[in-house]
Amino acid sequence: MTVAREVLRLDTPAGGRFAVLTRRSGRACGALLYVAPFAEEMNKSRRMAALAARRFAAEGWVVLQVDHFGCGDSDGEFGDASWQHWLDDLSFAWHWLAERSGRPPCLWSLRAGALLAADWLIATGKHLPWLIWQPVVTGKQYLTQFLRLAAAGQMLDEQDARGVLTRLRAELAAGRAVEVAGYRLSPELCAGLEAASLRLAPGSSGPLAVLEVVAAAGAGLSPAIARLQQAWRNDRVAVDSAVVAGSPFWMTQEIETVPALIERSVRMLERFGA
């Protein structure tokens, strides 16, 4: 069965959003909404996401990928984006896909996309099946790592790097935007990202499918994810997890793919299907 791809412009109340809809002909088994990672990680993982979308579509999923405000090919400047913009975009895309596909879409996130998805699920009170690739666990730590790029860009030593971090934090605290590695970050965006963490609303039952990519075959889940998984299971949330060996394709210098991650996801998604 052939998989068809459409490129679209979604007209949201806050401007145009670029989107790709991938589906096969015939009856769909479900709808899947992709929540992309942050900044350069979105660029680096674009091919992997496209390959996965095609593969999921071949299995019967209607897959929607949307560039949020100021990201990818969508309207707006990245520097003007706030966390709330992106939560609103996620809402718009979810309802658009629900209407188009005739069923409530499941979520599929990569990296910091998990933080946005977690906040959105809590804010909307929705409980949805969720495929989680290589999740970022705490936004605060992730933001710090991103700000460190500013120091790395200037090839500073450890002590200077701390100074750069302190200065950037002070700028943000004073309500001013900062620029890191070609991205201008608004204080609103940083506040949202910083407050976000990988958590579930009370009463969530899943199913969740958590997948991590590890360098060496035989390694287990990262300790933070293993702890979260245990806590969720204690709360009777259905969590399936796996690790696959491969390159960290969201950050590698050259474009990498991890086909095993896609194949493993296909099997896990079978439990999500209606």
Partner: protein, 297 residues
């Protein structure tokens, strides 16, 4: 907004390329800029450099098309080397002319190996009206080693932080020395892989110069100050009379504070502005200050 953006799919030998055209609303564009994406980037560019470029060009009356070559971004097909994307560039150029029928020609705009791919494509297509090359990729094994020696190792010899770190044990002296020795050997100019291959008697920089001379189109070259790829390019052209001739007839701009991908918003926008000015100068009816490219054959 004084521009309109639309996304569409292009067929390239049976595979789908995703493309976005950005065009001015007020006046029909007579010249277009086709962004030839290189390296590990897709059509938006690192930190959305190409999105910002396209929107600024459209605001200045110039249409811009960005697209994913096969195997990159959202495009279908298998990935291929920058030297093998002529069909992709051709398909995008065809689609660009159809989408914006007022175009009389198209400028190829490329960064890194996208610039190299643009050079190699240029002579075969009469619709190419000029080229903008940012930090063109001219890597050969010997060239790379010479650049590193000149700009990295030799600088480090005089770098007190390096010696402090070395003495404190932050750097393995054995490994550091082995690295220098290996680089010295490579820089001594042993024939590199591509030069020794029977079919390719010429190195990459030579083939690019050849193509540009044959194309004979106006040229804008932008080089970053904080970039080894740009240093290698300078190294290569210093040893090639044709490059020197080409550059003598081109507009050459150095952006000292910029890195390889212009990951500073102000500098990135400077490049967009520079591109818009230069391309406007090529438009029929508008007097440009640029010279008219390299010699024609």
């Amino acid at each position: 907004m004084n521009y309109r953006e639309s996304a569409f799919l292009i067929d390239c030998q049976g595979d789908e390329l995703v493309a976005i055209v950005c065009e001015p609303l007020q006046t029909p564009a007579t010249l277009g800029v086709l962004v030839v994406v290189g390296g590990p980037q897709y059509r938006v560019g690192s930190h959305r450099q190409f999105v910002r470029l396209a929107r600024r060009l459209a605001a200045a009356g110039i249409a811009c098309l960005r697209f994913d070559v096969r195997g990159m971004g959202d495009a279908g097909g298998a990935p291929r080397a920058f030297e093998a994307i002529d069909a992709d560039i051709g398909a995008a150029l065809d689609a660009f002319m159809v989408r914006v029928p007022t175009l009389s020609g198209v400028i190829l705009w490329g960064l890194c190996d996208g610039a190299s791919a643009a050079c190699l494509y240029a002579p075969q297509d009469r619709r190419v009206s000029g080229l903008v090359l940012l930090n063109p990729w001219v890597r050969t094994a010997a060239g790379a080693a010479r650049t590193y020696l000149k700009h990295y190792y030799l600088k480090r010899v005089f770098d007190s932080a390096f010696w402090t770190k070395l003495l404190r044990g932050g750097v393995s002296p054995g490994r550091a020395l082995a690295g220098v020795l290996a680089t010295l050997r490579a820089a001594r100019g042993k024939p590199c892989a591509e030069a020794s291959a029977p079919a390719a008697a010429q190195t990459l920089p030579q083939r690019m110069a050849d193509a540009l001379v044959r194309a004979g189109r106006p040229l804008l070259v932008v080089l970053s100050g904080r970039d080894y790829v740009a240093r290698e390019f300078e190294q290569a052209l210093s040893q090639d009379a044709r490059w020197q001739h080409l550059l003598a007839h081109a507009r050459l701009v150095h952006v000292d504070a910029a890195d390889h991908t212009f990951s500073n918003l102000a500098l990135c926008d400077d490049v967009s502005r520079l591109t818009a000015e230069w391309v406007s100068g090529l438009m029929p009816g508008r007097q440009g200050s640029h010279a008219t490219g390299g010699s024609r054959q």
